[in-house]
Each structure stands twice: as C-alpha cells, then as structure tokens.
Homo-oligomer: 232 residues x 2
C-alpha cells in the first residue's frame, strides 16, 4: 500500500493557501500548511513531505532563507511561488537550490504539472540509489555504476573523478535532460549557475574520451539553454 504523496504549502495569504489546497486535494495529494517560514521548516523536519511549495514573500523570514536552511540537509524538491515583479528573487531562489517556480497569478494546471515534474526529477537526480540497474549501456558504451568503471567496446576508459560523476549523473537519468543547475548540484554540490564554464570543459573532455567523433556527439547531447542528456 502506497501512501499519498504529501505536499507542504508555505504561504501566508490564506486565500492563496485555500486555493492551492483545494487544487492539491483534488489531485489526491495529502496537504500540509504553514503560514510562516519557521513553521514550514519545522513541518518539513517533522513530516518529511514529498514536495514543498514556497511563497517567496513571507513575513517572518525571507523565503530565500528557508531554501538555504532546508538545502543544508535535504534535497526535497521546492517549487517557488513568486509574485510578479520578483523576477530577480526568483533567479536567486533557483540558484539557492529551488527546483522550479510558478509566477502568480498561476493556473492550477501549471502548478500541478510542475509539482509532478519536480517530484519525479528529485527521485532520481538527487539520490543515487533507486535506479535498479547497476550497468547502463548506450550503444557501445557501458557504465558500471557499482564498480565505478566505464568501457567503450570492452576497453576500459580512464575518467577523472569529476568526469565520472558527470557521466554517472547523466547516466542515472538516461534519456532525460539534466539542467545545468541540476548537474552543478549533483557533481559539484553547488547550487549556482554562474560557474558553468567548468561544466563545458568537462563535457568536452568526456566527449573526447567516449564519443567516436567528438565534433558530432551521439552520446552526450547538448540541449541549448537547458542542459545536457545522455542518449538512450
């Protein structure tokens, strides 16, 4: 028996809270509510919800502080509600480790589908365990996640630590795009989006090692403006 997916709403305005709550209950989610950031953090600790919806404009503590505090010890997906005109805050929030955002006024559909995506992503991106296969094969490329080894045509390829972690992150999500931000988080434990030069350098290095023709990559696919993905 699988229990319901639980969602925590941290939002001080009661009408918005009611609105979100009724939408979520309609989707058969279990709903928790908090009016302040502090209260929200306590609920996260005590109830471990599956997703958090966080209003950036909280009275007691800044939404950003909530994200930072939670991200110190948990990778729980956080979807931000940002009011119009808070575009800059939104970007900062994403940099601090929020997963997605919805701008007010928002439609239920939008919120629901972003929540779903956030949940599914978090399952495999941030935790290294729940993938069943320990070996991932793409064409003539084999990645042994358990043994930490990579082979091309039975020949072992030596990868540096970061190269391996980058490839493994992509491999755990084979076929799915990982955003720059997710990769930064996974490989470098950084939440920011500034220092992605390194990412490009490593993608290049990896390609030189695993691609038949690094100029026309078939394994590591660039999704411009979004991220990278390992083809399946």
């Amino acid at each position: 028996m699988m229990s319901k997916t639980s969602v925590l709403i941290i939002e001080d305005e009661a009408p918005v809270r009611r609105f979100v709550r009724s939408a979520l209950i309609g989707m058969d989610f279990a709903v928790l509510e908090a009016e302040t950031g502090r209260e929200g953090i306590n609920l996260i600790i005590s109830h471990r919800p599956d997703v958090v919806i966080l209003d950036l404009g909280l009275p007691d503590m800044d939404g950003m502080a909530v994200i930072r505090e939670v991200r110190d010890w948990s990778q729980i997906p956080i979807v931000i509600l940002s009011a119009r005109g808070q575009e800059k805050d939104k970007v900062t929030a994403l940099d601090h480790g929020a997963d997605d955002y919805v701008t007010k006024p928002f439609s239920v559909n939008e919120l629901i589908s972003r929540i779903k995506v956030a949940i599914r992503h978090s399952v495999r991106v941030s935790s290294n365990e729940p993938i069943s296969e320990t070996k991932i094969v793409s064409g003539n490329l084999t990645i042994d996640l358990e043994a930490h080894r990579v082979f091309r045509n039975e020949i072992e390829i030596h990868l540096t630590n970061i190269e391996y972690r980058l490839l493994a992150a992509l491999a755990r999500n084979q076929g799915k795009i990982l955003t720059h931000r997710q990769i930064m988080r996974d490989v470098w434990d950084k939440h920011s989006y500034d220092e992605q030069h390194a990412l490009r350098v490593y993608v290049g290095a990896l390609r030189r090692k695993i691609e038949p023709n690094p100029a026309l990559p078939v394994f590591i696919i660039t999704e411009q403006g979004v991220g990278y993905r390992l083809s399946d």
Copy 2:
C-alpha cells in the same frame, strides 16, 4: 451512481436565463440560477456546481470581480457570456482565470459544447490521474514534460528552449484558451503584451515542426484577438 452535472447560470436578463436554462435541461443538466454576482457566489459556495456560466455585464458587481473572488479558493470552470464589443473585457476575464467564452448572440450547440469541454478539462485536472504521469498526448503528438522531449509519431522533434516552453504552456492547458498575455508571462516572464511579434514567430516555427500542414493548423489553434489553444 452518478448524479447529474450541475450548471450555475449567473445572468441578470431573464430571457437569456430562460433560454440557457431550457437548453441545459434538454441536455439533462441540473440547473441553478442567479441574477446577481453576489447571489451567484453564494450559490457556488452552497451548491458547488460543476460549471459556472457567467454574464460579464452584471448590474451589481462586475463579472470580473466574481471571477477574481471565486478564483481565490476554487478552480471551478467558468464560461463567460460576453456581448459583442466587450472584446477587451473578455480577454481580461480570461486573464483572470475564466476558462472559455461564448459571444452573444450564441447558439445552443456552441454553448453546450464549450461547457462540455470546460468540464472535461477540469475533470482531467482534478481527478485521480496517476501522480507520476508527466506526458501529454494530443493526437500523434507526445510531450514528455519530465524529459523535456517532444515526439510526433514516435519520431523525436528538436525544439529550441522557447519553442518547448511555448508548447508546454499550451499543453499544460490543453483545450483551454491561453491569452497572449498569459503566454507572454509563462514563456517570457513578461507581463506585457507589447512584444507579441516574437510570439507569432514562435507559433509559426512550432507549427512548421509539429503540424502535418502548417497552413491549416490542427494542433495550435488561433483565437483571433484573444490568444491560442492546443486542441484536445
């Protein structure tokens, strides 16, 4: 045992009300009626109808206010009745969360079919789809929101970031009109409608990629003066 679908008509003109009522009863709907916005809101609270038909030209409070108030706590589908020449109000109402509109004078068939679409849409949103589902299918078109990928007849279509976001925005609201403004907000994070040329260019680009015949679009439908919608 399924009870009848109930419809609330908020309309001050008695002839129009009678007309709509008899049409709906003929379709085996249960009908509620209200003459004023306030009365209508109270009936929504007490009877929870499945759809609301709302005249924009109400005497006591403006229809827009009804939409705003209801949308604070409920996602019940709202279909607008707008008189000719209320084009601007119509768009504003949609921006505020109305689901669809019918322009007076209207045919029974048109009204009925809009109501059905609105209901179907809201059911899809609020009922027990598996939570993990993040794929949207429309005809031979599949949009995988999690993997960020789009397929037509199993063939992957490459979309640029903005093209993808535009399609995803429409897809999350499949069947429902999105106003130009809503799209601008969703895709560009802009709240204005000034720079809409770009929107047209991207609609064109998308159509060229996903429509069988871009000159006669079947997926991305133009709602002149209002916005676009992705067909069901």
